[in-house]
Symmetry: C2
């Protein structure tokens, strides 16, 4: 049992974040939606905003210049993937993630825990991403109060991850916003398991804070993560504890249910217990309909691989389109001379016909994936700009009807 566990963080301990900040500049009158300014050492972004996933220190198919062209404000990278390849030591040696990737705006990293626990129970990732949980992976070798142990998919060696290691890895990577280590539980676990896991995540939160504080140099803002599965009371307990700790931000993690109704019911019930003045990040969630529902519950930032992942399957996100997207592989686009969205001031959306992109995808030309990926990023950024404007003018309901049709 670690020393950290035996001596939880005293309530009196505070950590300052002088180079970070969060100002709520507008509040919607009809919901919990808000517009804010999130300040980081690499720039200030307006919220609500979308954090695009550069899993292995690269947005799939897109360069930083192309992300900026698509008006991207902030991206993330995954600690789990980077600790395996190329290793946090190397990234640190190369000057940190910003320099390594040539991305000089705000960045976030996660703790690494999510992917580790996804290897275990069935999994959480499958549920969050809506995949069938039938296939079990066997990368997770064990989990106890001290740490999680898992097999590297690259070398086969058994690796260890715990709050102290996660803080050290994330410090080496050097993102502006980082996450405490938590356990991400699956939907199908019992209430008892969920409760015990949530309590351990709170202890891991304290261990994360203690480890974080030792090398804190104002470059990073640490988020606590609210867990508690689908149980309102556990979520509330977790939120209150996280709010009492000197985190910079609040993240909502784990599985919130099997249906949208369940998910947003929990989010709504829990929202009053989150720290009122901290930015709130919703981990791994980000369909267009999620954005509209979540911002009303006070969510400030999202992250999801969806925009670039579906692009690699030929799916383009569109405003006012059934199911949010079209499948450009469909034969009906073979002779379609229209671009994806001529109103977007970017070549990928404006200067190529659907017929051309259909051809590229059919021919498996990489440019096809690049164009659709950049379009999806550009249109999500357009969505976020419009959402912020709609919160300011209290017209979110109208905007939602424009984006989402049955």
């Amino acid at each position: 049992m670690s020393e950290a566990q035996q001596k939880p963080l005293p309530d009196s301990v505070t950590i300052e974040y002088p180079d970070h900040g969060f100002d709520i500049t507008h509040r919607a009158s009809k919901s919990g939606a808000r517009v804010g300014k999130l300040k980081t050492p690499h720039g200030t972004i307006e919220t609500p905003n979308y954090i695009f996933c550069g899993t292995k220190a690269s947005i799939k198919n897109l360069s930083p210049a192309q992300m900026i062209e698509a008006q991207t404000d902030i991206i993330l990278a995954n600690t789990y993937h980077l600790m395996i390849q190329p290793g946090a030591d190397l990234v640190e040696k190369m000057g940190g993630l910003h320099k390594f990737m040539n991305w000089h705006g705000p960045m976030l990293t996660d703790s690494g825990g999510f992917q580790v626990f996804s290897m275990g129970h069935g999994s959480c990732a499958d549920e969050i991403k809506g995949r069938n949980a039938g296939v079990k992976k066997h990368g997770l070798k064990g989990i106890d109060e001290e740490a999680a142990y898992f097999k590297s998919y690259r070398t086969g060696e058994v690796l260890k991850l715990n709050p102290e290691i996660s803080m050290e890895l994330q410090r080496q990577l050097g993102a502006d916003l980082i996450m405490q280590m938590d356990e991400c539980t699956a939907y199908q676990v019992t209430r008892d398991y969920t409760a015990k896991s949530m309590q351990m995540s709170l202890r891991w939160g304290d261990r994360s804070l203690i480890a974080f504080e030792k090398t804190h140099n104002n470059a990073q803002g640490l988020y606590g993560i609210v867990q508690g599965g689908v149980y309102d009371d556990l979520r509330i307990e977790s939120a209150q504890y996280i709010a009492s700790r000197p985190f910079f931000g609040t993240a909502i993690g784990g599985c919130l249910g099997g249906t949208d109704g369940e998910m947003y019911g929990i989010l709504e019930a829990t929202q009053p217990y989150n720290h009122p003045n901290r930015p709130i990040h919703f981990l791994g969630i980000g369909r267009i309909k999620d954005v509209f529902k979540s911002v009303r519950c006070g969510i400030d930032t999202f992250d999801c691989v969806m925009p670039t992942r579906i692009a690699r399957h030929g799916m383009a996100l569109l405003k006012g389109c059934a199911n949010e997207r079209i499948n450009l592989m469909n034969t009906k686009y073979k002779e379609d001379p229209e671009p994806l969205d001529a109103s977007l001031d970017i070549a990928c959306s404006r200067d190529y016909s659907k017929a051309y992109i259909h051809h590229l995808l059919k021919a498996k030309e990489m440019l096809g994936y690049q164009l659709v990926s950049q379009h999806n990023v550009a249109i999500i950024n357009k969505l976020m700009r419009e959402v912020r404007e709609a919160i300011k003018t209290d017209t979110l309901d109208t905007l939602e009807k424009e984006w989402l049709v049955d």
Copy 2:
């Protein structure tokens, strides 16, 4: 036997190219090297220049904007690939290749013959590209005076290609510079076969001109192709015939031998017989050392898939580097903080460490291929700018030593 073959083009027939032009502005004093201006309806480029391969109406991994950022002047697409997918009818319906691809500069298409004949004898492509000719493909179903017949790799149906069809396909695609239909013979065929094939290619050249003239609207300049294998006398006969015909440009096709010495011996011997005032294109050739040797024999343009193909294997072209390239997959680049070429004013070459690109390639991240592809295009364009300058200042020998080391 076709009507066209029985009535070859009378010597008196002329075709004008009012919207095309070629002016030789400088000649090297010590070799046949020259600098010129090649005018097309989509812009004028300076020669010598390099034509990058957008095989299926897309440069692999790179958008037109990225090609322009790499200072590219001209690209090509392959008629053979486009006739199979998506079809020249579709490209025409979408407004032609320039509009379809969103490339608004000069473009070239080939006749489609090269790939068809590559399916036959072992093949020409393998030789030109330096690949082992051991593996035979069986796509070529037959060839006679009238046409070549081959199996579509997409649908399995037997397709026909001949001079009239090639001219019609290339008219539909709408590139600025197009190629006559010829037979591309392999290195290992007999002198007798080479001679008969070359004669047929001359007749196919006349049929191409007759077909071309019927729909000529000044949008396209037609190149005749010099064949004759490794035999100086056949090459000279072909060059003289092509020079006597109203082509806009001259292309050098087929296999010129198994060694660099043989290839450039033939090129040098043949050069005096090419039309003195027409642009000369070297089909499918384009290593850096080829550029230096060929421009001295009066070659004005090159095309080769090499820059983008080797990029997909992690190879970056560099100035003053043994074998012209480095393998970024090599472990020695794992911790190399230096960029590929900081002297190039483009992010891919200047703003990413070799360590980062090594990581991307190892992780099979598409951005790795994109960065190396764009770098290779950018450095070839730098090479061509320096070659043109060196011809003007008679310093080609010095420049060659800077680029090529043992």
